[in-house]
Symmetry: C2
Subunit: 347 residues, 2 copies
Amino acid sequence: MKSINNSHTRPIALTLGDPSGVGPEITAQAWAELRDKNLPFFLIGDPELARQHAILQRLPEPVCIDEPRDATRVMTDALPVLPLPLPAPVKAGKPDQRNAKAVITSIELAVKTVSSGQASALVTNPIAKAVLYKAGFKHPGHTEFLGALARQNSDWPEPHGPVMMLGASGLRVALVTVHIPLSQVASTISRENIMKVAQVLDHALQQDFGIAKPRIVLCGLNPHAGEEGAMGDEEVRIINPAAKNLRRLGVNITNAQASDALFREEARNDYDAVLALYHDQGLIPVKTLDFHGGINTTLGLPFIRVSPDHGTGFSIAGQGKARADSLLAAIKAAHSMSACRKSYGRS
Amino acid sequence: MKSINNSHTRPIALTLGDPSGVGPEITAQAWAELRDKNLPFFLIGDPELARQHAILQRLPEPVCIDEPRDATRVMTDALPVLPLPLPAPVKAGKPDQRNAKAVITSIELAVKTVSSGQASALVTNPIAKAVLYKAGFKHPGHTEFLGALARQNSDWPEPHGPVMMLGASGLRVALVTVHIPLSQVASTISRENIMKVAQVLDHALQQDFGIAKPRIVLCGLNPHAGEEGAMGDEEVRIINPAAKNLRRLGVNITNAQASDALFREEARNDYDAVLALYHDQGLIPVKTLDFHGGINTTLGLPFIRVSPDHGTGFSIAGQGKARADSLLAAIKAAHSMSACRKSYGRS
């Protein structure tokens, strides 16, 4: 029996990702898992490729839709596909540059559907940046591209991102710096960027996660958070002053904490999110605790965006080995965030 | 009934640590847990302080011994104590500089007993470096002090340390750099120190852990291990060449791996130890997985040394809150390592 609210739930736009990666097969798996859960989504991708994967997984054939709103009605019977045909045939594990333009178009169309309100949130299948670069893609990654599209499509109030936040097993970790060499981390962090990212995080926890008064824990940079300057002075010079300013502005954030003590089970009950200063500081605990179910959320965009926390998986694509756990978690999180944002500020 | 091998098991020397910290109470707890497990140890510490904690925990009064070998006989009935009276009264949570000399003497005596073969291994209770510095202690920490004592007491073959290795939940992580600012990590790692630490680790895994052909995984420094130079070139310039040289020397070590993917449950089955490049890269996963039962092993000394992976705990000392999990794990690990070392090279 369908849920009585089914027709009111706006669907999520799911991008194609690299069609030679695991995206098509985990998309089919995700549909099979979610078809009767009132968590509708539609794929912006190639109908024939989607059909092949449905057949492989003994699922009903996908149904092409004309508009995103049709997805909610179609969802229980078949995977809804907003058609974006690919020019070149798809070989699993072998990315083809001729399909790169469609990969990019899928993201652009998805942003249009969320910006116009037709979709409630955006979930992105993994892309291969190297393939897109050859096709003229100019952005460091998915997240930055979405940031640029967001700026084109809407007014965008401060504080804005994009800010990368990883989530797994009830743990949320946002990052001040992301894809830079470790040798540049100490010179890249500043009072300004710590404050900006913390404010985006604080706002998102309220708006999209329904946390009225978020508690944020701030990581130190050095071993034992520097032991008051004995092993690095960034905590004293930069990090703690930023935290102090943030508290003045009403953000409930700690001073720098020894990052190795923050992620144990008991400590995780004492905060709503961790603000980490660099990639591995945040990603090691997330992936250690939940490698398959981790998700990547982009905060500080005018729309909700979540993605699975894994790559294209070319080495296992098309072999029935890929696990949809992370994509499933991403779609569920996107729906939950959308519901929070809808009711935010109304109570 | 006592084990038939009981009298043949050499005891472990346990140091006093800071007497105002949690050491005395976790020592009493550890004795109660291990008294009938054929894992003998003796405390080098103050008999009266040990007596007070035994009474608090409703345990039999400790027994003073004249020689380490008496510990094995005494162990089932009472905590064996090699007496080292303290000059000043002990207040829980309030370290007293007047007792600093005894803290240091306890470590020196412990090294003598293991160097002479009277004790099979050394387990150290936590010390407060700041208190010892005021009493003229000249070493950066426990580990370095033990390294200096080892050099005085015995011939010490290459490859030698000290190398810090953390362990918890079946995970072993050794560190190339330890207590230095994060900003200095990239400039401190070198082919030479990676090779030296990896060789100490490889040897210790064989000698003290009974692993005939150790499999070591090497962490990258940068996000995604640098993606072939796209985000930092240390993997290409320093880390992978060191790994290649090590493999030529017979060490089974990988090239640099993305460190966020290494610590998940499935990955942990594929190696015997991880070589991490800096403090938090190694300690975050260890403490995330097992905060209370983690241990710290010093490799590359002429004797076995293990310590609990926590500090003096002044803020909770004397309140019955301290957990002996880590000290228990340390004593068990020290006995296991001692048994391995005894049979190493004999088969």
